[in-house]
Symmetry: D3
Subunit: 238 residues, 6 copies
Amino acid sequence: MRPSARQNNQLRKVSFEVNVNRYAEGSCLIKMGNTHVLCTASIENGRPTWKRQQGLGGGWVTADYAMLPRATHVRRGRDSNKTDFRAVEIKRLVGRALRSVVDLDVLGERQIFIDCDVLQADGGTRCASITGGFVAMYLACEKLVKCGEMRKNPITHFLAAISVGVHNGNVVIDLDYDEDCHAEVDANFVVADGGALVEVQATGESKPFTGEQMDAMLKLAKDGVAALINLQKQVVEG
Amino acid sequence: MRPSARQNNQLRKVSFEVNVNRYAEGSCLIKMGNTHVLCTASIENGRPTWKRQQGLGGGWVTADYAMLPRATHVRRGRDSNKTDFRAVEIKRLVGRALRSVVDLDVLGERQIFIDCDVLQADGGTRCASITGGFVAMYLACEKLVKCGEMRKNPITHFLAAISVGVHNGNVVIDLDYDEDCHAEVDANFVVADGGALVEVQATGESKPFTGEQMDAMLKLAKDGVAALINLQKQVVEG
Amino acid sequence: MRPSARQNNQLRKVSFEVNVNRYAEGSCLIKMGNTHVLCTASIENGRPTWKRQQGLGGGWVTADYAMLPRATHVRRGRDSNKTDFRAVEIKRLVGRALRSVVDLDVLGERQIFIDCDVLQADGGTRCASITGGFVAMYLACEKLVKCGEMRKNPITHFLAAISVGVHNGNVVIDLDYDEDCHAEVDANFVVADGGALVEVQATGESKPFTGEQMDAMLKLAKDGVAALINLQKQVVEG
Amino acid sequence: MRPSARQNNQLRKVSFEVNVNRYAEGSCLIKMGNTHVLCTASIENGRPTWKRQQGLGGGWVTADYAMLPRATHVRRGRDSNKTDFRAVEIKRLVGRALRSVVDLDVLGERQIFIDCDVLQADGGTRCASITGGFVAMYLACEKLVKCGEMRKNPITHFLAAISVGVHNGNVVIDLDYDEDCHAEVDANFVVADGGALVEVQATGESKPFTGEQMDAMLKLAKDGVAALINLQKQVVEG
Amino acid sequence: MRPSARQNNQLRKVSFEVNVNRYAEGSCLIKMGNTHVLCTASIENGRPTWKRQQGLGGGWVTADYAMLPRATHVRRGRDSNKTDFRAVEIKRLVGRALRSVVDLDVLGERQIFIDCDVLQADGGTRCASITGGFVAMYLACEKLVKCGEMRKNPITHFLAAISVGVHNGNVVIDLDYDEDCHAEVDANFVVADGGALVEVQATGESKPFTGEQMDAMLKLAKDGVAALINLQKQVVEG
Amino acid sequence: MRPSARQNNQLRKVSFEVNVNRYAEGSCLIKMGNTHVLCTASIENGRPTWKRQQGLGGGWVTADYAMLPRATHVRRGRDSNKTDFRAVEIKRLVGRALRSVVDLDVLGERQIFIDCDVLQADGGTRCASITGGFVAMYLACEKLVKCGEMRKNPITHFLAAISVGVHNGNVVIDLDYDEDCHAEVDANFVVADGGALVEVQATGESKPFTGEQMDAMLKLAKDGVAALINLQKQVVEG
């Protein structure tokens, strides 16, 4: 029995509230249970400096990730002198994941910035950032297409992410914070529409794991992502 | 005629959504028109380090203020190496203002941290932070009183803040971003319940101003704050 | 009775020593009692980067403010990793105040940097920085006019600043450190020649204040600034 | 055919030079082809601060990772003001991996610091850091056991890591820099003695990948790690 | 002929203005020609943290060095994110030099902080900082002895420093900025009362130098320092 | 008798291993006893920014210096927020020394970066960095000459550095860490081929020193450097 009384393959209640920011080209407030992430997608003209310096063409997609000071049980003040290593790891993952489904040549000399700000955290914030960030990015691209600034949407696949883990010996999906703290294995899967894998990260927190557990987690993740992508499609076609 | 078609003494639509964060002792999402600020109040045990080092008793109240990267028309990335001077000025003001209505001896060996995160900015974010931060702080104190951790609420007065300015020669209240950009004088008034002044800041942006204008601004501000404090009372007595 | 035995409306002994720095275009060591601030004005050709990027014309005026490590009772070492929030607040005020009396179009594509270094602090350093910084800036502009680099002095008004406060229930001017520590209300007025207000900042340190006190402070400030501007004129006309 | 003319399942030439540092409790210079990483393990008494503050017992294992400025084709100067996001990601991985095979209760109130300095990089530096860092850590623990400071070696399993990828459609092991740059999928497997998985990270660089490819990579990685662990055992029993 | 028309062994006009700061235990404004350095000595109780951690007794002496933004021909803004390498080198030299003439056991559990702020620079600022810093330190120690806080003055020797160089083939003393810029050899000598050497630094700026030049510079420096120490004695015995 | 049982004028065992890095234009691992420094020389096209801004021609030579975390008895973690003052002092010395024997006009619009990374420290790391860095720089220049990118080698003299000190009253050369800790005088001499002095730094650590000791140290240093330069020549002519 899971602490939340959910089935092993049952996601938390998911909702997407779109266009929540009047300035961003695209925006989405995703809630997965008590995890709430405000995602905005900003599109700016011009290549990033490093592409220009290296004479490379095409656009770029990058992400930022931060938590509000009281997103967690204990307040965590901003300390501008301390790099948040965990946030660095996550923003690189989010950027890499979202970039993987954008055709950078179609994007052209533009950069997309996805900002993921965790208003409240209860486990799974990096996956929520990818899933919600995708919606914000999709809406931003659609907006540019509609107003004629971009000839077509450079997004090649829908994309979502979900956490899976082994808890009390069971393979379970979409762990909340309490469950995550006591999980034996903790994994995150970023999966594209159709089931192709974009990124897999699995860590044996308290003990190593087996290839069989890996397979079981992968299967659960694919189903969970398929459900999330269905929701994304409903939302963006709104 | 104001750009927003409001009367000179007319506030924007104001709303307070309370208890929006499950971890903070008190929280409030304040919306003044398109300015949206998420305020949380966290109460921690213990004196601040500097009070301990100086052998001083009593508690303390401090604030932080930040904007999400896309709170504004143009995205502004976090640059951990650049201090945001404007934010520093504002967080000092917010902390000072809220501290002025707390009896630090009654608070005892506790610190209150007010975090104000601007989700969307359209002028008046510092005043919204004070007005919304007060509600969050009040709720946090009430919570501790109710659960018996604090013998009585250390807050001595209700408190709110409002911006007033001179625009096209008219003294107007609660300027939005467009109006603020073209204001000749820009002022912020922090006022306690009953009309006593806590902080006054007035700047002649494009030209100096007169004592008469100062008086007119003060009068408008007092009325505006009185209306805001009425709303605060309804909300916290909910 | 004030701790310093001065009258309520009596300034401390003020002196301006000009051209104390051989490199700066203008310089002034201002002493207001035991508060000593070394002000230099440097004029550099070229617009600031942000004006260039936004395609804006005209010049700019900016200020910096710092205290020497032993300007105060207790030594305060330089810690390059900690932003001095108070200094940030002050340098923004000084820059804004001095900029308000410069015609940026007449200044042309130049920047004026006012550096205010507090050699010794005994209250009122921000006001002394504005009053002394004005003299340095005036002299710097005059120098460029005299040597033919600038067609006319871009300064539109004389300008000075003074602190006023409520101490033991009395409205008093030009508080020194001891008085300032125990003041109930602490205010700073930046006033242009002729009495027009440029910036007003008033804070109820230990308790709120009234509109009547505000008026009394304003009156005292205007008289004090008028005296300071008289001295400035004598000094710059040498 | 691979650029290096190796078989798909063929590791580069691997060597471990141990006790290369006279101060560290354990040390190892690992060379995997042209990738050279100097690993030292330092054991210090005392719990980390965060454990002490939270009242937690047991020891801790942490890692650092850095490249010398000319470890790569292009010199990369140290810039103390810019956080190296990639290095942050890697040092978290290395620390997590090595910690997973240490019994922190047996370690007792001690911290192990693994420093991995890349003298020369040619792909696979994070895996070499884990594999070489393990040897340094093992030797350090043995040393403390031998001199009677620790009752038994707290290491529970041997551990190594290897990169695997998909290049030109083939699943290949231990990619060098040239191969890595053009790989379609890039994965790192941290595997314990006996084949249990400790960490899996797989990224579709240019396109998504399938569960079948995941399985094939996993199989190749297990064989490669088994070979590396054999070498580790020979070296530490040396 | 020197640019300043001075003799090769002729110092610039030197003056010491003491007790210029009302808070510091000792202070001195030294002027060597147009080089003006404000030196303060602050004595605080307690050992430095590192001595306490290592269980070492006795006091410590340390120095800081900074230039005001317009101490030089070209304004140099404070950039809190860039370490001033030159200042670091100088403050280490000043601290080391002054520490060498203090008996740290007699000083006891106290720290002396010497702050050297260059108000105006015209060459030789590091030597002026040592020579003026010594006076400030001497006065601070005397003050503590006089008020009975310290049983005797811990200073063992008088100490001063002077720059010497080779300019146009001539060995000359106390170079000003213009001379320094074109010197072939640039040296600084820190010498104790009686002629014993404390620190020697000599650099061949544009070409190497000989042992004979070294000897000639040493001789000139000793005479110059002897003159400076005479002045120091007059000043402190004032 | 020296702790190491060496004669007063006896260097430690010295070795130069060249071309140890496959990417750097020149590289050298220098070992002086247990002091091991990995030196790389990187040549990049283009003037440094500051030369370009000031309209100056010719190339530039600069150095960096760092210790690996466990190069010393006690591990010293990297703290990106604390400037290592000692390292700053050393890298300025190394850069200045190596630059002194390069004809910057012959070098042309190129920069040479010498990176000195101390793998293991046992005293004398700054001198080893200069001596080894020279070899790396020489090899780098030769390489560019051989491949026709530079018309001739811009190095004007061979150059090496050695530490000399007074220990137990004896003037001794090439102090190791133990000896250095207890030396009364600590000096470093940078000397060019033929015996001309490039930089002299001498510090009386525990007491001042005399001109005679200075002469004796100088003599010892010249002999030591002559021996080192002989070795350098053998190595680079390989």
